[in-house]
Amino acid sequence: MLADRRHFLLAVRCFAEMKVTTMRDAIRELVRDGDMVALEGFTQLICFAAGHEIIRQRKKDLTLCRLTPDLVYDQMIAAGVCRKLVFSYAGNPGVGSLQAFRRAVEKGEPRSLELEEYSHFGMVGRYIAGAARLPFYPVNSYLGGDLPRVNPRIRQIQSPYGDEKIYVVPPLNPDVAILHAQRADKNGNTQIWGLTGAQKEVAFASRRVIVVVEELVAESVIRADPNRTLIPGLIVDAVVVEPFGAHPSYAQGYYDRDNAFYVEWDTIARETAGLNAWLDEWVYGVNDRAEYVAKWGEKLNALKPGDAFAEPVNYGEYK
């Protein structure tokens, strides 16, 4: 009878581990109207695929957080899914301003946008506090600047070990984190290399986690290098496989940044009409990421780099 029970329980366990799903289902089930959502990624691994699906599903009143809201948030703001932005740098990196973001802030188009603004270090501190469930996080920044004046959540406290004062920021705990990565196994154990930004902290800070990967790999691949696992399956709710899902940003070792598109976006986004036409063609006009990738065609393959493999390390077999 115990053996029977064991089989039943193993079946339960397998079912609980069925995390691999489609982007459509992941966004439908895990992103709710009014949620605070973080599509993080510092320069690389920015999940445009998820941003576009959120737009297609016409989610409402999202609070978006991110150190560097770049093109994907500009697109989401233009599409009207975003009510509020928690951020530290809203620019088109290497190019200039984000046009849709500016229109929303300066003119309230297509809707007004509430801002909660920090510096990069402040945002990083918020994520660490969120991940570690600390009531605040101390950062030696903000001295002499105007940010604490316009953001009352940036506060100063006294050290109990002398007369030093230090600024603190409160924890940030998004409802959903959507994190792009190079590879994961079916349980959501996720490996990232290259710039890791604040991906780990955001994952642990959030209530729900969607991991989007270039490749779904066998458990044995992940387990052959456990020090590289940045996000454990323990906190992952869904795994979505979406090659080129970070385009036009990049995925180290998989493809390069599409700099031409970053430059082009400045022109596309300068007028509402042009931006809407772009959304119609590249977001609303495709069913999913696979169609988007197919529509780009050979241009994406041209972004693939040559090989530069890491030297493998030996973990040793201990039995």
Partner: protein, 253 residues
């Protein structure tokens, strides 16, 4: 079927894991308890080793808290800051295990000193992670042998708080963890009264008498009204322990 006291403790402790999602594992008995619990009572149980390992697949029974065998083939290995902050302090861990040099009637645990702190009769190793495990894990299981030197009315030093002076004392701490749930010994299982938080015997192991238990506890112990007899290890439990989990019989003999 014959079984050892350790096997009984292991199987009794493993049953306490029913429904648990994530356990914080040390070496020795808790390691075997968790693996047995995962196979029989908590199929979704995930194990976090306090050395910094999630999803270990040890190829041998780990001999030290950071045995290299828990690293090779694991799902994720991390540094201590991540382990303590993002796993333990974040509240991911449902169950933690603690040992005890002394434990008192309210479940407070001492692993620091016997005697005065400044001039100890016996200097013990100290907290390690026990001070935070005691306040951050959802619940605590204590596995230890019953004897009068360990089960004292009041510990000399609170390394890991249980219910302090009893009653609502612990609630006032606003700790994330609920505190000790059960103390599994070689003679009986003890739990804590819902109101006073005083330790009491809730289950006697087969063939153990109340007098035997009392003789090994340093205060007048209470026995639950509905005192049970501990279910002995089943054939399946014994098979798993002996053939799969501790084939060399290092911890379960």
């Amino acid at each position: 079927m014959e079984y050892s006291q350790n096997e009984l403790m292991i199987s009794a402790a493993a049953r306490e894991l029913r429904g648990a999602r994530v356990a914080f594992v040390g070496v020795g008995l808790p390691n075997i308890v968790c693996n047995l619990g995962q196979r029989l009572h908590a199929p979704a149980l995930e194990l976090v080793y306090e050395a910094g390992v999630f999803g270990a697949r040890p190829a041998r029974l780990p001999l030290s808290i950071g045995d290299p065998t828990i690293v090779t083939g694991a799902a994720s290995v991390m540094g201590m800051p991540d382990l303590f902050q993002y796993y333990l302090q974040r509240g991911l861990i449902d169950v933690g295990f603690l040992g005890a040099a002394q434990i008192d009637k309210f479940g407070n645990i001492n692993t620091t000193v016997i005697g005065a702190y400044a001039k100890p009769k016996t200097r013990l190793p100290g907290s390690g992670g026990a001070a935070e495990i005691a306040v951050l894990c959802g619940k605590i299981l204590v596995i230890t042998r019953l004897n009068k030197r360990a089960f004292v009315p009041r510990v000399d030093f609170i390394t890991s708080p249980g219910y302090l002076e009893g009653g609502a004392a612990r609630e006032k701490l606003k700790a994330r963890g609920r505190g000790p749930e059960a103390v599994i010994t070689d003679l009986c299982v003890l739990r804590f009264a819902a109101d006073t938080r005083e330790m009491m015997v809730t289950s006697l192991h087969p063939n153990v008498t109340r007098a035997q238990v009392q003789a090994n506890i340093g205060w007048q112990i209470r026995f639950a009204d509905a005192l049970e007899t501990t279910e002995p290890p089943s054939a399946e439990e014994l098979r798993l322990i002996r053939e799969e989990l501790d084939p060399q019989r290092l911890y379960s003999r």
